[in-house]
Symmetry: D2
Subunit: 158 residues, 4 copies
């Protein structure tokens, strides 16, 4: 699991004083940086070198994210296929899972415009971060079991 701490910025808040949905893809992109380094240690953003392309992303909004409290982004690898990998990412704030989502990335050759097999040396490193969706769900269920959100902190009356 990769952990990233972010302080919501004023500019992340929408008219209903929640972090806006369009902000989350940026946060998840930032939280994928360690994974990009794993695939591209030289950070070389060229067609010849860069080797990942996003083909899918989804987001489930469970509870609002508020201003004034840090959030923790957790990034898990939940599936490794021949030439693609699936990530599960979560936003936690004040001990509560606020939202989660998945994305699928292809190991990709930008010049030939086709996907490639993920090499073994990278695959082995990815395996260290692998967790099944089921295990992840159970882990989160246990973590939230005894936590209650302090409702008073967030009154939406004006």
């Amino acid at each position: 699991m990769f952990k990233t701490i972010i302080s919501p910025s004023i500019s992340d808040m929408n008219a209903l004083r929640h972090v806006n949905n369009t902000v989350i893809p940026h946060w998840f992109e930032s939280a994928r940086s360690p994974l990009y380094t794993l695939f591209n240690p030289s950070h070389d953003l060229t067609y010849k070198k860069w080797n990942l392309i996003l083909v899918h992303m989804d987001f489930n909004f469970i509870k609002p994210v508020y201003f004034g409290y840090d959030v923790e982004i957790r990034t898990y690898i939940t599936k490794i296929s021949k030439s693609s990998l699936t990530l599960s990412q979560e936003v936690w704030q004040n001990g509560q899972l606020r939202l989660n989502g998945n994305c699928v990335m292809l190991y990709y050759d930008y010049i030939k415009q086709e996907s490639n097999l993920i090499p073994d040396n990278i695959r082995n490193k990815l395996m260290n971060h692998l967790i099944s969706s089921k295990e992840l769900e159970e882990k989160n269920r246990l973590e939230m079991k005894n936590k209650k959100e302090n409702k008073k902190e967030f009154v939406e009356s004006d």
Copy 2:
């Protein structure tokens, strides 16, 4: 169907010279504006009045979106439930479906923090834009049948 034309901006392009994945949620949000007007004719962004909340969104990246050519965002209503609706949104450029996605919104009371039944007068207006996912797929298949992308326009060699 709601149609929105957008010219990709330089600031929408990423290091691989495609429109970046984080831009698309903004484009789709903009393209939902006519729907927000349908639900909130007075555009009153307050807890007492505003009545929609996003609970899910997903995106499938089929082909890259490039700089220098307008894109067309198409927004369809593909499902109307008791207190929620599902939209399908697409990005077309140069006659090709570049990416699509769905989102689910709840008809929502921000003060009580609970969903409500969509009123009939709004439901009736929504029905005018309803199309099933299957019909939409078939419609798109036919539209792209005889169109070929001019590959020469987009050479990713440097």
Copy 3:
């Protein structure tokens, strides 16, 4: 003058229900697209071809920009130097100048990492859009003279 019409999106609004300051640089970037085309007709975003780099930008926030009303972005060229040009850009909404700003761009060689003289064929095209800051100020003063903002539209009480 280049004119661009934009509908503020829900995701452009901040917690005080104004268009957020961080949105404006995006809008101005979009509104500079015709100028980019003038300098780069082939839209070739490569180090060898692309020839403009931003070195300064500033913004003056005069009145808030609200949701529910289109805005007009006006882009003027207010200065053409040997190897740089200065743009003045404005956001108008409901007949009022809401904010303005300037930016300076260099005609630039990304490979040699140095500025170049603006070629005459481009310079001649730029001249068509040239207006002095003073003329622009006077033009705007006259335009707003007989217009009064309908204050009732925007009550910030909740």
Copy 4:
């Protein structure tokens, strides 16, 4: 001085593989968070409570910001007036000042739509972070004196 560390994200990079100009206002907004807390300890984003409004911002782009290296945002208060304050903010990467800018914020009553005098208890806290523009320039000159950027890290040839 307030210090904020940010890792540039893939989505912050533009087609020329620099951090895009539109990203910097977001970074500076984030880096102003400690100041917002100083003015608004309860983080209450309502018209009745929130008390700051941005009236000006400017940015000078000195050197590009690249992917793969953390940046340090430094936020100074360079002027405190009766009802406004001026901040100077800088982006440093690899020991080099990459860009800087200023912003002016009013101490503001959103209900009455007018500025107010900054109260003494806040003013006293602000004084701790005050530095003149001249001192800041001299401080930066000394810091960069013996540092040379490793040009080899950033070759813009493809």
